[in-house]
Amino acid sequence: MAELTYRDAVAAAIAQEMERDERVVFLGEDVAAAGGVFKTTVGLLEKFGPRRVRDTPISEQAIVGAAMGAAMTGLRPIAEIMFSDFFAVCWDMIANEIAKARYMCAGQFSLPLVIRTANGSGSRFGAQHSQSVENWAMAVPGLKVVAPSTPADVKGLLAAAVRDPDPVIFFEHKGLYATKGEVPDGEYVDQLGTAKVLRQGSDATIVALAAMVPRALQAAQLLEKEGISATVVDLRSLVPLDTRTLLAETKKTGRLYTVEENPRLCGWGAEIASIVAEEAFYDLDGPIVRITTPHVPLPAADALEDNTVPTVERIVETVRRTAG
C-alpha cells in the first residue's frame, strides 16, 4: 500500500493501463506538456511519448469525436474534458453518437473509450465550472457512469473503465484532487457497478457519491452520538447500478437517504428513490428523503457556494428531523 493523492491516482491509473496495453492512448487540452490543468496527468507525456499522449486544440467536439473514431478502429482512447460543464459543448458527440452508435449498427463495432472529466463544486469557479452533471450521463442509455470518492477507487475504477469494452464517463471530483488515501501497490483493477458499504448502522441508510461520501461519513459519526445509527453506502457507479446492495442495505434499516451534489430535479437520487420505493416498499419504515443541492445554478462566493451544496450539518439535521 502507498499513500497517494486523488490526482496522483489518476495519473497512476492511466500509466498502469497505457503500460499494459499499447492500444491505450490519451488526448485532451493541456494534458501532455502541462500535465493537466489540475495536474492529474503529470509524467505521462514523458513516459509514453507524443504519439500516445496528445495535446489538442480547444475543440471538445473534435476531442470526443476523435476518441470515438479511434475507438471504433482498434484503439482504446482516454479523452479528457477539462470541466464536466463542457459536456454541454460536445453533448452531441457523447449522447447522440457515442452512446448510440453500437446499438444503431447492431453491434458491428464497439467503443472501448473513457471520457474523464473534473466534476463538482468547491473551487469558487462559478456556475459554469462547478456543476455535478453525472445525472446527465446517467440519463442517456449507452453510457457507463463512474464517480469515485477515494484515491484507491480512482485507481481501481479508472483502470476498470479503460478495460471496459463500452463507453465510460469517469467523473473525478475536483474538490477531492488533494485528498489522500491508501492505494494498493502493483496492478490494481476494481469493478464497475459495485457499491461499497463504508459504515454499517441500524437506523438509517445514507447513500452518497464522490465528494458527498466523506460528508455522509462525518454526519453518520455525529448522528451516532445522538443515538441514530447510520449505514453509509458509497455508490461509486451510477451505471451499472448496484441495486442489490442498495436494496439490501435499505431493507436492513428501513430508512433511505440520498446525499447528492447535483441539482434537485432528476438528480441520480430520484432514480434510486424510485427503485427502492417500488422494490422495497414493504420494508420501508418511513419516507425516502433526498438531501440535494437546491435547484439553482451555483453561486460563486465561497460563503454562498459552501451553503448551497449539502453540508455535514444539513445531512445531520435532515436525518435527525425525519428519522423518528
Binding site: 475543440s59 453491434g107 442509455p141 457497478g193
Partner: protein, 330 residues
C-alpha cells in the same frame, strides 16, 4: 478523353457503380411510394459520380464516413443491395437488422463506418479513425463525405483544424449540391465555395472538382488518397454536383428556381459518362449488359428484402453494450 491514365476495367467499375446507385435509389423511391420504406430517406439521385469516383479509388480496408444521404456511399463500397433495401424497409435482412434505419447505414465489413444524421458529427470521428490509422502505421486512410451545409457547423471547423494540425490521413469531401436542405447554400454562407474557400484557413489547398464527372472525381480521389497514405496529411475537396430529387422524401423541392433542374439534368453524371465511354470505343451492348445485370440484381434484392420478416422484438434490448445486452443494474 484527356489521358489514358484510367484503365478500362476501372472505367467499367466507375460506370457500374453509378448505375448501381442510380437504379437502387430509384427502387428505394418506388418502395417509399408503396409505403414499404417508412420514415424518411435522403436520395443521391444525380450525385452518383462522387460516391463512385472515391469508392473506386479506395482500398477495401480504408474507412469511409458519410451523412444520412449515404445509400450511395454504402453501396459504392460494396455493401450488399439486399442489406441496404432491407434496412430501409426495417427488415431482419437489413445491414443493421432494422436497428439503425436509412440515416445510419453501416457495414464495417466494407469499411463503411457509419452514416451520420447529425450534421457535421462524423467529421471529428473520421479524423479519429485517421489518427488511429496513423498511430498504428497501417497505411489506411479515412474519407469523409458531407454536404455544403456542413461547412457552416462548428464540428466542421474543429475537425479540419485538428486534422490539419495532426496531419491526419483523412480526405474531407464536400458534395456541394447547391442546397442546404431547402435553402440555397450561397444565401447562408459568407464565402462562395463553402468548403474550398475555407481550405486556406487550415493551411490546405483549395480544391474544386466537377462532381458530375466520375473520371475527374476519380483522379482527384486517387491523388488525395495517395497523398494521405504517404503521410502528406489531409485534403479538403469540394465536388460541385446537384441532387435531382428533394432534400428528403418529404420535399418536393419547390424552392428551386425555374430551369435550374433542367440545366443540371443535362449534366447528368451517368448520361455524361455513358457518352464518354461510347466515344472511347466501349460497346453499346457492353454497357446495356451492365445496365440489365444491375437491374436484375436490384430486382432480386428487392424480392429478397420484401420476403424478409421484421426483426424479432427481442432485439429492442440488444447491443447497447459490447456483451450484447442492455442491462444497467444487477
Amino acid at each position: 478523353m484527356a489521358s489514358d491514365d484510367i484503365d478500362r476495367s476501372t472505367r467499367l467499375a466507375l460506370y457500374r457503380s453509378q448505375i448501381e446507385i442510380r437504379l437502387l435509389e430509384k427502387r428505394a423511391y418506388d418502395l417509399f411510394l408503396q409505403n414499404l420504406v417508412k420514415g424518411t430517406s435522403h436520395l443521391s439521385l444525380g450525385q452518383e459520380a462522387v460516391a463512385a469516383g472515391f469508392a473506386t479509388a479506395m482500398r477495401p480496408d480504408d474507412y469511409s464516413y458519410c451523412t444520412y444521404r449515404g445509400h450511395s456511399h454504402t453501396l459504392a463500397r460494396g455493401s450488399p443491395m439486399v442489406g441496404v433495401l432491407g434496412e430501409l424497409m426495417g427488415r431482419r435482412c437489413g445491414l443493421m437488422g432494422g436497428k439503425g434505419g436509412s440515416m445510419h447505414l453501416t457495414s464495417v465489413a466494407h469499411g463503411v463506418m457509419g452514416s451520420y444524421a447529425i450534421v457535421g458529427a462524423h467529421l471529428p470521428v473520421a479524423a479519429g479513425a485517421a489518427w488511429s490509422a496513423q498511430l498504428r502505421g497501417s497505411g489506411q486512410v479515412a474519407v469523409c463525405f458531407f454536404g455544403d451545409g456542413t461547412c457552416n457547423i462548428g464540428a466542421f471547423h474543429e475537425a479540419l483544424n485538428l486534422a490539419a494540425v495532426w496531419k491526419l490521413p483523412v480526405i474531407f469531401v464536400c458534395e456541394n449540391n447547391q442546397y442546404m436542405e431547402y435553402t440555397p447554400i450561397r444565401s447562408v454562407t459568407a464565402v462562395q465555395h463553402p468548403a474550398a474557400d475555407r481550405a486556406a484557413a487550415y493551411g490546405l489547398e483549395r480544391i474544386v472538382v466537377d462532381g458530375n464527372d466520375a473520371d475527374a472525381v476519380y483522379r482527384k480521389a486517387r491523388e488525395s488518397i495517395g497523398k494521405a497514405r504517404g503521410g502528406g496529411g489531409p485534403s479538403l475537396i469540394e465536388a460541385m454536383t446537384y441532387r435531382t430529387s428533394g432534400h428528403s422524401r418529404a420535399d418536393p423541392a419547390r424552392y428551386r428556381p425555374p430551369g435550374e433542374l433542367e440545366e443540371w439534368t443535362k449534366r447528368d453524371p451517368i448520361a455524361l459518362y455513358r457518352a464518354r465511354l461510347l466515344e472511347a470505343g466501349f460497346g453499346e451492348g457492353e454497357l446495356r449488359a451492365i445496365d440489365s445485370a444491375v437491374q436484375r440484381a436490384v430486382d432480386e434484392a428487392t424480392e429478397t428484402a420484401k420476403a424478409s420478416p421484421p426483426p424479432a422484438l427481442e432485439v429492442i434490448s440488444t447491443d447497447v453494450w459490447a456483451d450484447g445486452g442492455s442491462s444497467w443494474r444487477n
